[in-house]
Symmetry: C2
Subunit: 518 residues, 2 copies
């Protein structure tokens, strides 16, 4: 078995070219039919103006070439703002900034109360903010400038300049951080005429750490940070390497022990098939693929993706973050598994559950599980994991995934082959800390909210206990990946309403202090 | 008149090749004779072992070439250390690390009390820590890696690695920061057999800011910082641009109004000479130069240097930091000026005073005021001022220097011509802050001592008021440039003994807290 992280990356790569929209109705009976009725996707509101900022390519090496600029995209909403009022900045990350703006309705919801200017800054090397245009991902020579320190400096420079241009230097800035990982999305306006964001090319991990790091490194620019689902301890040896997949497994186990056991048992059935004659033909049939499968690994990765991302977005209301999904999709998946006839194989049940993830909107007739890999194979997040974002992950015997270890040497070798670079596995903890974080930040730093929902597997790498009176951990048992950042809906449960209320109160406190200091 | 900073840099450049040790006895009579008796220079103790660390050249751009390593020099004294006890790190700066070690006897003095390991890390591109060997200063291509962020990351990586190698990860680290500016020194063991550090090639400004910045950016690595004479507000528009030279002038004025007026008046006499026939010949005679002068500017710069550096090192005891000097050398200089016959010209009096600086050790027969400029003209600090360390300085009408402004455009043009780079005048304040520092750090950060002596002109860019209960300003009226870092002597005044005692007590408090947290 390949190491878990490599495996995870591998399946992401394999999957990287799968377009969204695939899969017919494989759920058993009425349960699925009732679910499908809820799948009406609302049109995301994007009341932003687009701007481009001439950004320095290399903040930390002063060479003649470092004067090279690129155009960094950012979005602005000034509907509620007045000069001197706060500026709320979303520190963009692994994707098209519109996608984050559409999935961070919380900031729009609270802007009127604070009379806040909203700014969404796109992360370099994602979306339209490509320093070398179409050649940005061409090689290590260009990709070298894609890393978190350069990104944080981008934010610092852009925010400082923006405030000057607005003649509003005294405006306090609060940063909001959502995901940080490797997903690249495109807008697909074709599905029932609405503005739906669908996965286009790449997918990866999700690390909403930049806002927290920004507050720690640039406290003179941001008076506080709300870092939602930020696994700042996911690096090096700060937490057990099995935490992530253990947490995914726990989500399913908590809903139904049977569901967990079925998924856990499905891998062996899949593996057994790979030794059978005609296995791929049978598997293609079971998985209703558009074209015959060439390897069982594709099916494994396809299932894996569905379970991991569904755990991450196990929201209490229907949503369309990764893909359109109903409320509490893990429950729905387990419902599908549990309701299946007992004579059905575990693999077919796992497949039926996974199909909820891929085709809840019912637009697919068959699944394009395999796809030709991108010839370059040079995607943003993959590069980041091969340089600074080394997050070893393993699957324990208790997880519902096949047990596996992490072989750093093998991983490093792959990076060397792929990009000619060696990872720096200890760099993030050297640059941003993490060891003894409770003790270090107890006596240093302030004004950070770490919000985590325990449904989100990334929560295990998050800060789950208050560190000081102003470095606060807000933990919700039922929350998933930055659920608090989503637009409020009428169906939001009380705990979510309460969570957002707490966040608003804490931000208000920071602002009160700031204005009192003035 | 050239802008003051340019002027200052210019004279430093012009002066850059003047060897130390120049000048006969030009002081009037007995005063000088009595001074000279005190000029016995003690041999600095350097009880350190030298090591070299394989350091990453580029921490912030991940390119295949970034895997290039260079050997960074560091010194260690483990005479008093036991495992788990504190590690005191001197964050080296603009010169040979031995020079700083020899001038930071304070750390050696307090090591036994704390059972501390002492580590002096050399700054990249200075001393022996040359990433490209002899070619390090060759062009912007190599010099690009010389900047403060890379230097701070060097410290972080080296300290982390060192603790691991010592199996003493739990040892608390305190950083000590002395000067940061452009001086490059060599050891000259020839003068009366003792180990005297004399200026060899370059000189520049003095900015002991790295320790404070290190605590702010790497709080997980250093539990506290003692930043002595750190002008972290010397950038951008944080303080009036005339502060530095006003402070130098104030030092002289405080000793003697006449002394201040004589120096202030001497520039006009020098300028008048430049229009006279035979001016340079006369000036060469007055200034007792070894060779005939080619420009009056050299004489001006030579005087300027003497007054500025003497103010900086206006220590209460004799010392040999920049050059061998008696106790309170500003007083001594003014004594020379004030005792001069009243018919003497201001210029000759200014010259006599300046000669104290250049030849207190009485080893010079004539002055080598002009020297051929280095063909490359690529010196470390000059590069740093042309990139990030932009510190505009002007001379006000109240200063004892000729009034002058600062023309940024002209400065930037020179940098472009010289290196092909454009300065980033706002980068340091963007990266490290400075605006509203009292308010920002009141609510962020901890465990920094900013010590400043008001005799030191750099103090005007320092933090002179307590910011919080743990960001402390220790200000002494009679202190000069990091006087607290010098070895204790029997002649130390009470205020200096008290200052060091306070520093020790505060560091002890940090350590107590740290061990209590464990």
């Amino acid at each position: 078995m390949a190491p878990c992280l490599s495996f995870f990356l591998l399946f992401l790569f394999a999957f990287s070219a799968i377009p969204a929209n695939s899969l017919p109705t494989f759920f058993p009976g009425a349960a699925y039919q009732s679910l499908i009725k809820q799948a009406k996707i609302s049109k995301p509101k994007l009341p932003f103006k687009t701007h481009y900022f001439p950004q320095t390519l290399d903040h930390f090496t002063f060479q003649p070439k470092s004067s090279k600029l690129f155009y960094q995209k950012y979005l602005i909403n000034s509907d509620y703002w007045r000069k001197g009022a706060p500026i709320f900045v979303y520190t963009g990350n692994e994707g098209n900034i519109e996608w984050f703006a559409a999935n961070t309705g919380f900031m729009l919801d609270i802007a009127p109360k604070f009379k806040a200017l909203l700014v969404f800054i796109e992360h370099r090397f994602y979306g339209k903010s490509m320093p070398f245009g179409k050649d940005s991902y061409q090689s290590a020579k260009t990709l070298g400038y894609l890393n978190s320190q350069q990104a944080l400096a981008d934010f610092a420079v852009l925010i400082t300049s923006l405030k000057q241009n607005l003649s509003s230097e005294a405006s306090p800035v609060v940063v909001f951080g959502g995901s940080y990982g490797g997903s690249k999305f495109k807008i697909n306006p074709e599905i029932d005429g609405s503005f739906i964001f669908t996965i286009a090319k790449e997918k990866g991990l999700f690390l909403p750490v930049l806002a927290a790091w920004f507050r720690l490194k640039y406290p003179h620019i941001a008076i506080g940070a709300l870092a939602s689902s930020a696994p700042i301890l996911q690096f090096d040896k700060l937490i057990p390497w099995s935490s992530f997949y253990d947490a995914v497994s726990q989500d399913f186990k908590d809903v139904s022990l049977n569901c967990y056991q079925v998924i856990k048992g499905s891998w062996a059935e899949l593996e057994a098939m790979s030794t059978q004659k005609q296995a791929l033909a049978e598997l293609s049939k079971t998985f209703r693929t558009c074209k015959s499968l060439h390897s069982t690994a594709s099916a494994r990765d396809w299932l894996w993706t569905a379970f991991v991302y569904t755990a991450m977005v196990n929201y209490p209301t229907k949503a369309d973050f990764m893909k359109p999904l109903p409320a509490y999709p893990v429950q729905k998946m387990c419902k599908i598994i549990d309701k299946f006839p007992s004579e059905a194989t575990k693999l077919s049940r796992a497949f039926a559950a996974a199909s909820l993830y891929y085709n809840y909107s019912r637009s697919e007739n068959c699944f394009k599980i395999e796809h030709e890999l991108d010839g370059h194979g040079l995607h943003g997040w993959d590069w980041q994991t091969c340089t600074e974002m080394v997050m070893p992950m393993t699957c324990s015997k208790e997880s519902m995934f096949p047990p596996s270890g992490f072989d750093y040497e093998e991983f490093a070798e792959q990076c060397q082959m792929k990009y000619g670079v060696s990872p720096r596995p200890h760099w993030i903890t050297t640059e941003f800390g993490g060891e003894r974080i409770q003790k270090v930040l107890k006596r240093f730093g302030s004004n950070i909210i770490f919000s985590n929902g325990m449904q989100d597997p990334w929560s295990r790498g998050g800060v789950l206990k208050n560190i000081s009176s102003s470095i606060i951990a807000l933990v919700t048992e039922k929350g998933a990946h930055h659920v608090d950042f989503r637009s409020a809906t009428k169906k939001d449960p009380k705990w979510l309403i309460q969570l957002r209320k707490q966040e608003v109160e804490i931000i208000q406190k920071w602002l009160n202090e700031y204005y009192a200091d003035l």
